[in-house]
Amino acid sequence: MSTIKHKKPLHKRVVIVLAHVFLAVLAAIWLLPILWVALTSFRQTQGSYCSTFFPTSYSVRNYVKLFTDFSVFNFPQMLLNTLLVAVANCLISTFFVVAVAYAFSRMRFKSRKRLMSVSMIINLFPGFMSMIACYYIFKMLGWTNGPMLRVALIAVYAGGAGMGYHIAKGYFDTISLSLDEAAMLDGATKSQVLTKIIMPLSKPIVVYTLLTSFAGPFKDFMLAKVLCGPNKDYYTVAVGMYQMLEKEYIDEWFCSFAAAAVIISIPIAALFLFTQKYYSVSTSGAVKG
């Protein structure tokens, strides 16, 4: 009698089991493509077609090919290109974001509201539109060929970064103003407040901004595709991998594409999992303006 009292009624237990089964099915659907690409990257047979869903024999030759066969695609070069752009982008973007967020969060000046509204309006333009125009501008400057292409990529990635200030501003807004006031009573200037008080207290958000802007060029496809055009030497990883799936290369390169996908995804996924706790900040930050 007493044991039954503690147990839940039968129908409730059935519901709970069903809920777990349902979750398991959903998780399987969501994980299946990732599992598939991970296994395909080790597939021994070449080509995009495979007569079974999962491969039947495995080897590491697809990975070896990425780092040894430079006849069509130079994967290490692509990694290096992306890395260079990513490092520059992450430094400039973070500086811009922190500067703008601090100015909007802590300073009160005449054009503040207006600047914030303007940035909201500019954000409504399809980003792709300015991208195409940037392409023409760089083409006229002769930056779409040769090493200047990297400068062009960095310029477009980092140039508008200041408009992504919302998350950092939301974070700065939560730091108590009395800290600033105390420091200024002691004679600190506003720039000292920024470097000595706000920045140390906002380490998480600074790290978050650094990491997300570093990951940006690894994830972006559109801009790099438009700017790079046929310049294979300056392809970023995303553009190069897209090319591997073109009709003329897919048979030979499909499995290496899968290998490249695994190589790229592991560090980016690690970065993401590391920074994910800040994602909920972004929504609550938006609520506060």
Binding site: I16, A19, H20, F22, L23, L26, A27, I29, W30, P33, I34, W36, V37, S48, T52, F53, F96, A103, L115, I122, F125, P126, F128, M129, S130, M131, I132, A133, C134, M140, A158, G159, G160, A161, G162, M163, D173, L177, E181, L185, T189, K190, S191, L194, F218, K219, F221, V226, Y242, F254, A261, S265, A269, Q276, S282, T283, A286, V287, K288, G289
Partner: protein, 459 residues
Amino acid sequence: MDKLTDTTPRPIQQEPITCRAALRGGSVAVKLSVLIGGLGCLVRGQLVKGALYLAAELFLLAYMAQSGLTNLSRLVTLGEMEQQKIWNEATSMFEYIDGDRSLVILLYGIVTVAFVLALVLLMRLSLKSAYLAELYARRGMKAPGIVQDVRELLDQRLHISLLSLPILGVLTFTVLPLVFMSCMAFTNYSILDNKLVLFDWVGLDNFRRVFNLGGSLGKTFWSVLGWTLSWAVIATASNYFLGMLLSLLINWKEIRIKKFWRFCFVLTVAVPHFVTLLIIRQMLQPNGAVNVALQNMGLIDAALPFFTDVTWSRVTVILINIWVSVPYVLLQLTGILQNIPAELYESARVDGAGPLVTFAKITLPYMLFVTMPYLITSFTGNINNFNVIFLTSQGLPRAVESTAGSTDLLITWLYKLTIDNQYYDIGAVIGILTFAALSVVSLVTFRFSGSYKNEEGFQ
């Protein structure tokens, strides 16, 4: 708090430092500062500041004289001279003389307009600082020197130092290109009639062509617009509700190993989108993994037309979008859901409300209120969702006579019009119209939600 360290003397703080006040109340030197930059500052002993104003003005004027004025005048016609071939008697060869290139003329024209605006701004600043310096002098005080000015830039006026570089970046790499592209909407820059080198202003002709339901272009536009809007509504709503339901399910107190389930879904967000999207496209090809698996199991005879049939393709991209975005929504909503005050649920339970009623009367209204800004961003994000379409269906299937496929959004159509087909004029029109559609939606919802106004509630 601002008064704590403000070094400007109080009487001067109360004076209005505007251009109008300066022109009305300033001396001759102040008034002349509109024409000769920094004159007022130089007179009052602010030598470095005055010299900087003057140098900047001279630089801008020199540019205007050297090439600026020509650039502006050529903006009117966008160039008329075609490339010419002239027989040279001396060398007995044809020589080519470069013609005008409208695109270059347009760009230089816009840059020059930006310089003119900068000049106007500079002269306003010069006038204001001259007036300020004079106000100091009238009260028998010494106007702040360059050292003090720089110190101010690191303190009370830090926002100027902080914002100038980011704003310059946005102006150069976002605003200037947008203006440039928008201008193309009013020209006939297109491969049609061979207008790629020399083109002209055509006013609103392109807009008329796009809106005209009778023409083939108009038909395409209205059908793409219709699909874009329904896509954005369906995609946003399905992601939001499915994400919320999933989040509620995992939050349910009876579910074990919550962290593991969340991790399963979050892992798919962690992998770069372009990778997962390209993989899914590959899996859904006629001879891709999914069709092969289904055929091996004997469930289907012929390959499923994932990207070749209109309805199949549209449903497929929506499902793919759910796959891509629901984990992201899950991530964003979990924290907010956990923050719903527990006593709300408690009182609902006491009143005998079932799970459905609780969801409809408590969870949903609360979530809609808190996440309205997120919903707007996600709606605009879906209108501009280039990757999900371009990397999976590529807009297919496409009718032969049309430039847009039946899953093309305005943004992917814009790509095809400009990059693939070189109809730059129409592409620019589509860009502007996308912006218009987004502004209307966002403005209406923002007014409606009102959470934008309540900014400093937290401090």
